[in-house]
Amino acid sequence: MQDIKGLTLFVACLVVPLGFVVMAERSAASRMNEASDAASDVPIASAAEDAYCTIGLKQVVRRVAGACGLLESGARGCKPADAKSVASLTGDDFNALFKPLQNRAHIIQYDKDNVILDDGGMKEVEESWAEKRGASFYFVVARASTDGDAAYNTDLSQQRAQAVYNHLQSKFTGDEDLKKVGLLWLGEEYAQLGQDFCTWSRSRDGVECTDKEINRSAFVAWIDCAI
């Protein structure tokens, strides 16, 4: 009798935990198989696509990027382009596209008849470059004031845009993102900035800002649009 009791106890003490373990493992296996069929809801790392990425803005960026050879694998270099045809918009409408970038953009100011970046200009360019985040393109839109003739001002604004690019190249040598810089020069004829842009982040912040001074400039910003 004692043998049977002892044997029963021996078996019970072994079988109870054994059954518990096997059942728990089978249950875990079943849950694992069900879970492996479920889709993951973790987002995937991607470039930024901000709310201000309107079709109009994307069209402008795409055309400038195309003109600069950014969308092809060929050699980079912006071709002179008629700004109006690039934008296909009125000047005011063109500027309106960029208004939502107030916290992203910087305005680099130049002296009259000058294309050289001063210290404040270089610092502003570097700061704007560092604010890359998830943006896909860096846009440089250079202008000139209405002083002088139109052809001269077109050339002047082109050199101002180029000066920004040259500084980026010297400061961030070898940076692959330099391939994402699109240059657009507007001269004096198209989309002149209004004085409302004087309140934006400028390289000459605090210095008097007239209609002419705000247009002796390069408008730089990373664009958070997946093109």
Binding site: G6, L7, F10, C13, F20, R31, S36, P43, D175
Partner: protein
């Protein structure tokens, strides 16, 4: 198997010998220690079984709430607790390279306590007074959980730095079992002979071994296996480091591996501890890519999960030679660093000036570099590397060669998965996410 004790009734029978001489009785005092042992072992088995159940529930590779209370059966908790920390530590199981998650120590405890319930219970059922030989074996058997209690309590305090309430329940139960065994020995009748019954001891020990072996073998046989652990979950599209953003970790040589980490993410801290404890830290040429989940620099997160992570990442990239020391410091002081950044941001300062000053003070080499356009650009490159590889927005992530270790394999199954992937060479040509 043996049932060593049977009723040895020495009372006279059949009118033959009336000179009855009872054996030295242990009386009620002889039974009570066995009752204490059985009850202690039952509680030990219960606490261990709850712990084992929590461990097994994680074999489905998902996140679960776990029990962490001195009261068996109290509600499970999903958040951080000493029990979770202990369970996720490399000390919670053995043979982790061979079995996903390894063989839980709690399961072995279940086997030992079940055996003790059986052994002490059988002595109780037998009703025969204990001899010193019986109680000597009881003490030896009870000493095993007591010894393991000392070892594991030391590990919990000195190595893991966390105490698990269920484990404390096991420790107390082990103590009760040992006390019962000692009392039983003190009250036991003298041994029938001076010679130890080694054969009986061996049989009883064999029963204990059988308990442990059967539970361990069945556990291994029924443990869920997933081919994902060896196949991985995707591959790297862009393996190279064209921008100098990879940070070498450790001095290991061997298969290249990349860990995607956030210096202020608690899961990354735990992952780092598991990696170091696993021994694979030395077998892999491990490099880190920073992926701070902080909206100050990371556009992929709307809110800062880990405020200040961008600044710490900058510091690491500023001083790549000292990056490991900075990471260690960040892991050790995550809460303080996050609080420092949060304080800055709550007061309207988005660039974490207090945190940056603290980092410059602690790591003077990063002075002049921290916050510069150049280094912010580097952090951005790290994030863009994640974009290039279309990685999930989470940390930590581990790549062995170009194979991505599935997220569910980065905790309990880490050693098993890495071992399997290393056997497979760590690369999967042609396979893409």
């Amino acid at each position: 198997m043996t049932t060593p004790l049977a009723f040895d009734d020495n009372r006279p029978s059949g009118g033959q010998d009336y000179s009855y001489s009872p054996p030295p009785q242990t009386g009620g005092g002889g039974r009570m220690p066995l009752v204490v042992m059985v009850v202690g072992a039952l509680f030990g088995a219960l606490f261990s079984a709850i712990s084992t159940s929590d461990f097994i529930s994680h074999l489905d590779r998902q996140v679960h709430s776990i029990h962490c209370s001195f009261i068996p059966g109290a509600a499970a908790e999903i958040g951080e607790s000493g029990c979770r920390t202990v369970m996720m530590s490399p000390y919670s199981s053995m043979f982790r390279d061979s079995l996903w998650g390894g063989l839980p120590i709690a399961l072995l405890a279940v086997a030992v306590f079940a055996y003790l319930v059986m052994h002490a219970g059988r002595l109780l059922l037998a009703g025969k007074p204990l001899t010193k030989h019986d109680s000597l074996y009881l003490m030896a058997a009870a000493a095993l959980p007591a010894l393991m209690t000392i070892i594991y309590a030391y590990i919990a305090i000195a190595e893991i730095g966390a105490v698990c309430k269920l484990c404390v329940g096991v420790y107390v139960s082990s103590g009760a079992v040992l006390v019962g065994a000692v009392l039983a020995h003190l009250n036991a009748a003298p041994a029938p002979s001076s010679q130890l019954p080694m054969g009986q001891f061996a049989r009883q020990f064999g029963e204990g071994v059988l308990y442990v072996a059967v539970l361990a073998i069945f556990y291994a046989l029924f443990a869920p296996a997933s081919p994902k652990s060896t196949q991985g979950c995707g591959t790297l599209v862009k393996k190279d480091d064209g921008s100098g953003i990879f940070i070498p970790m450790g001095s290991g040589k061997g298969t290249s591996a990349v860990a995607v980490v956030d210096p202020l993410c608690p899961a990354c801290k735990g992952f780092d501890e598991r990696m170091r404890a696993s021994g694979f830290y030395r077998k892999l040429a491990l490099q880190s890519v920073l992926f701070p989940l902080d909206s100050a620099c990371n556009w992929m997160v709307k809110d800062s999960l880990h405020p200040g992570a961008c600044a710490v990442s900058e510091a690491m990239l500023c001083d790549k030679d000292g990056a490991e020391a900075i990471l260690d410091y960040a892991f050790a002081n995550q809460e303080n660093l996050r609080a420092l950044a949060k304080k800055d941001r709550d007061s309207g300062q988005q660039n974490d000036p207090k945190l940056r000053a603290h980092l410059e003070d602690k790591f003077p080499k990063v002075k002049g570099c921290l916050g510069s356009a150049k280094i912010k650009n580097q952090v951005n490159k790290s994030l863009k590397w994640a974009v290039s590889n279309a990685l999930p927005v989470l940390t930590p992530q581990l790549f062995i060669g170009d194979k991505r270790v599935c997220d569910e394999d980065t905790d309990l199954g880490l050693e098993y998965t890495i071992a399997r992937m290393l056997e497979g060479g760590g690369s999967s040509p042609g396979k893409r996410r």
